[in-house]
């Protein structure tokens, strides 16, 4: 293990040396300024601050308080090649290495294929071409498409799945959304109204969860997950759960459309319909002559919804909201032969944003609140569920708030921004993140923050399964552009 730790530190040092070699203050441009390349090098290191709740099936039990949950170094480059204002290419590559797998004693308990999958990343995250012809805009290629009005919630923001395998939801989602090859078309009918069409013809990717034994696992999801099958009184057989890979095929594509318009001088609304595979897994049991087979599957769902936003000048407040009706959302139901039932669900979010002058700062502070509610329609009280990652709770209410206040003059040549984010699930669980970010000069960003969770073991909701995963972290980033 000592050799592995040395290897880890040497790797981190080489990585940073490599990145620092490319230290320069400007984007690399060539082809008469038509090609621009920029990027960043970054390290985030997180330490667990809670004792694990052993035996509660929450995962991460091998990691003690004080263990390194994450020590990931990134090198990212993005390039834009502009042939004309109506024709340009964009690509983004990211490489990363998580040294925690080489630093922690607990890594010996993690299957080798899981470590190989999660320790190093080498990925072209996006690669697409933009074409404009009059009122028609096309984006073709591997991309992210974001609909909706919510912060930290996914109602309409369902087109791209997320990679939750290395820091759950606590990154900018731009950095954890999984890009998909898609066709995106937006047609401006009038300056106020546009039609949008999105088609991912052949590829489906599910939400990625941390593999078995990793700090980020949510059992039994993720690579290496096991289903505890009781075979006799007091006897449990742990059967492997197949990942249910969905093959690349026209039969597994997703498609949808949206109309967006504005009423009067500023009431924006949109309605959409998106037919897609549900990106969160549902456990399916397939009986055989011998032992049953357990798989994670992703049935199709039709999501119909709408959004709005408006600004009310007399109170200087932005109101925004969205609602969605999901037809055929899979629910985990052990009374069913295959463990799955399909229900309809409704969810909505209403949010308010208001920059406000507070006594703590001469600059205005950003205040934002959201109210979220989701209900499973036609709930069967006899349904026995397993885990709540696919939100099988019959009702869910979450309140959230953000306060952020910048100090551009407190420290010479820097902007200091403290902020706090709170999410509260009315089942009695939640998350608070105090954060302090310092932007120094043109290129440096240092963030010190903590993710503090609370909740109950063996209870439903989003935060309960991770209520013992509190952490503190430092995030250092150097950008070159």
């Amino acid at each position: 293990m000592e050799r592995r730790r040395k290897k880890a530190f040497v790797s981190i040092a080489v990585f940073f040396a490599l990145a620092l070699w490319s230290l320069e203050g400007f984007a690399y441009t060539l082809l008469d300024g038509n090609f621009e390349l920029k990027g960043f090098v970054r390290n985030i290191t997180a330490v667990r601050t809670d004792d694990p709740h052993v035996g509660k099936g929450l995962g991460g039990e091998n990691f003690e308080k004080g263990d390194v949950a994450l020590s990931r170094s990134f090198l990212q480059a993005e390039g834009t090649y502009t042939i004309s204002p109506d024709f340009k290419f964009y690509g983004r590559w990211r490489g990363s290495y998580d040294a925690s797998y080489d630093m922690n004693e607990t890594s010996h308990a993690i299957p080798k294929d899981v470590i190989d999958d999660q320790r190093i990343e080498n990925e072209i995250r996006e690669l697409y071409v933009d074409i404009r012809k009059g009122p028609l805009f096309l984006r073709l290629g591997k991309q992210q498409v974001v609909w909706g009005e919510s912060d930290g919630l996914r109602l309409a923001d369902i087109i791209n799945p997320l990679d939750l395998s290395w820091h759950y939801l606590f990154e900018n989602w731009e950095d954890t959304r999984i890009g998909l090859p898609m066709i995106r078309a937006i047609y401006a009918v009038t300056p106020k109204t546009d039609l949008e069409f999105v088609w991912a013809p052949v590829s489906f990717e599910p939400t990625k969860f941390g593999g078995k034994g990793t700090y980020w696992e949510i059992p039994p999801l993720g690579k290496g997950g096991l289903f505890p099958l009781p075979v006799a009184p007091g006897v449990v057989l742990n059967l492997p759960i197949r990942q249910g890979d969905v093959p690349t095929s026209m039969k597994n594509g997703s498609v949808g459309g949206k109309i967006k318009t504005s009423f009067g001088s500023g009431f924006d609304v949109s309605v959409y319909d998106y037919y897609h595979r549900y990106e969160l897994p549902t456990l399916q049991m397939t009986p055989t002559a011998g032992l049953p087979i357990f798989s994670l599957v992703y049935p199709y769902v039709n999501s119909i919804g709408g959004t709005f936003n408006t600004y009310v000048n007399p109170i200087k407040t932005v109101f925004r909201g969205e609602a969605v009706y999901n037809h055929g959302e899979p629910q985990q139901d052990f009374t069913k032969p295959d463990f799955i039932s399909k229900k309809d669900t409704i969810a909505f979010m209403v949010g308010v944003d208001r920059p406000t002058y507070l006594p703590i700062n001469s600059e205005s502070s950003f205040l934002s609140f959201q109210f979220f509610y989701k209900k499973v329609l036609n709930t069967d009280p006899t349904t026995v569920t397993f885990g709540d990652i696919n939100n099988t709770v019959p009702e869910q209410t979450i309140l959230s708030g953000i306060l952020s206040t910048p100090y551009p003059k407190l420290i010479p040549n820097a902007v200091l921004t403290p902020s706090v984010t709170v999410f509260y699930d009315t089942v009695g669980a939640g998350w608070v993140r105090p954060m302090l970010n310092l932007r120094y000069g043109d290129s440096w960003s240092v963030t010190v923050a903590a993710n503090q969770f609370w909740g109950h073991d063996n209870s439903r909701g989003f935060f309960n399964p991770i209520n013992d995963r509190s952490e503190a972290y430092v995030d250092v980033k150097y950008s070159f552009q």
Binding site: L18, G25, D116, N122, S265, P355, N413, S443, S479, Q481
Partner: protein, 398 residues
Amino acid sequence: MRRYFGFWVMAIVVSAFLASGPAGFAKEEGSFVPKPIGGEVKYRIDKANVDQYKDKLTEGLIKVIKEWGYAINVYETVHDYKFPEEYLDATEKYKGTARVNSKGGIENYTAGLPFPEPKTGIEVMYNYEYKYSGDDFKYSYEGQIISSTGRERKMSGSYTRLGYQGRAILDPKPAIPNPNKVELKEISAFTYPEDVAGLALLTVRYQDPSKGDDGWMYIPTIRRTRRISVAQRGDSSVGSDFTWDDYRGFSGKVSDSNWKIIGKKELLMPYHAPTTNPRSKGKIFNSDDCRFELRPVWVVEGTSKDKDYVYSKRRVYLDADSWAILSTENWDRRGTLWKTQEIAFSVDTERHNMFVSNQIMYDLIGKTTTQVVNFKQHLNLGLKESFFTESSLRTSGR
């Protein structure tokens, strides 16, 4: 090792590409290129002799010369700016029709200079608002924010504007028909530093003074457009010494302040900038790259109607020839002179326009400055309304 070979190859290749220097900025075809008008320095004002000329200098400029080591070179005054004929014709045609209502809004304005003989401070400011600056225009800018310790942070971006009213050159004239009574639409896009690169802010300003600006911002890290409140215009713009209301002298809503005329004077003002890219000399510009002339200016003071506004008072100095703002001073809430700004114009005699070559904002209390130079300036491009939409923001970002 073989398994990670591809990762390390990519990392080395990418790092090699990134190990490079600046490529500079290309002049865009058709953009305005100022020509220095030349001339000899008549006299120089510095710390040693500034008191001799104090009746010709603003209070803010005196402080900068005395306390910051600035010196100004004074040249012959050249009056070469003239409005385009179409604008002068419109001024004559609609003379006497515009008026200011009880809310501070302008009514019955069609085109041209609304108040050729202004009687009140707000009429002077509406002359500034509707002076000829093209029916649409755009430019790029670069700047540095210089801290009290002399360290620099850079910023860059672009600004594009479409005027709906008072159109003199481009069809439709004199106004773009719009039932929502839009005055103008503008897009501010940021390209540097990294934390704001890719941000683009669309602001819609209405003729009705009781109707606040509407704003949408495309934020690349969340990959969507967010409706925002642009009400807090007294906030620092991207951490600089400029607030959102400070650009080009004053970029806020005229009706949001009470204005009064202090007087009409002859003062030393930056004019006919010798270069579009003055050299920095620490926190100030190199004097040899600046040009001052004795100019007739209107002096107007404004106080915001918003009790929370960052400035207790703003004084603006407007060029009597062009109605452009040449300098400003801003007082903090305690009544202390806090900031002063110089805006150096170049005169485009062909297209009858005053282009802002550079601006500098001095924070006299915090001892910081923000220097901005503008380039790739275009006028009357025939920009379409479809560019100034939320949809356009959405599709211009990554």
